[in-house]
Symmetry: C2
Subunit: 114 residues, 2 copies
DNA sequence: CCGACGAATCGACGTCTGTCAATGAAAAGA
DNA sequence: TCTTTTCATTGACAGACGTCGATTCGTCGG
């Protein structure tokens, strides 16, 4: 939902030294590592994939629990991590929360691995 | 060194479903997560960066310990992880082992985040 | 109001991971 | 051969992370 707190979004906000071309400061390496760690989980990768290929590009939590084979609290846990990283956004409508991927965000990360 | 064992290199050998376009199977998500976890560490990111911007594109371990601010065993530990992932290669010459980055390998990972 | 439902939070547990000191192995020099 | 240098391996420890059951918080229907 738009009301959710975003913490780690600032990780690589503006464009990018690119790992193999710049010497990469200690602070920046830490930021990049945190951002990549969000993606380094099979459940979160499948979440991104499921959301991107869902009807209308979005899905509620209850539709994600079963295909992932994880408990509802676990799925909510990963959704929060992805949300905090800015990779997905949630929109609460009635009793359901509809999540959708933010492809631009993934593109930012991709461009750092130049 | 060329004699070193490579284990996790098979992670995403041939080209790529791309996270946001394919539904991403459970097995493939696991492989991708393992591959990304190798990059999700500040010391390993700085290692890649240091090697890429080193003289002649290579450096020995003793040249890497001090700028990283980690113990020699710790640096060797991370070098092994990067080597097993195919992101760097080591070449033993005399008493020194010269490491260099493998940019193609990083490009493979990058392309998965399409 | 009250009960049912969807989702987030909490608490606890087991596992994985980064780190270092100590040790081991290989190579060069005296 | 003995010593020194360079790097890898081992063992141990602390902290972080994924997972689930139980609980709590909102929201809708009756």
């Amino acid at each position: 939902m738009a009301t959710r707190t975003r913490s780690a979004v600032s990780a690589l906000e503006e464009c990018c030294p690119a790992v193999l071309s710049a010497p990469l400061s200690e602070e920046r390496a830490e930021e990049l590592a945190v951002a990549l760690a969000v993606l380094a989980d099979p459940v979160r990768l499948r979440l991104l994939s499921l959301l991107a290929s869902a009807e209308a590009g979005e899905a509620c939590v209850c539709e994600l629990v079963e295909p992932l084979g994880r408990s509802q609290p676990t799925v909510s846990h990963h959704l929060k991590i992805l949300t905090d990283a800015g990779l997905i956004v949630g929109d609460k409508r009635g009793r359901w929360v509809w999540y959708r991927a933010v492809p631009d965000r993934l593109g930012q990360l991709r461009s750092v691995l130049a």
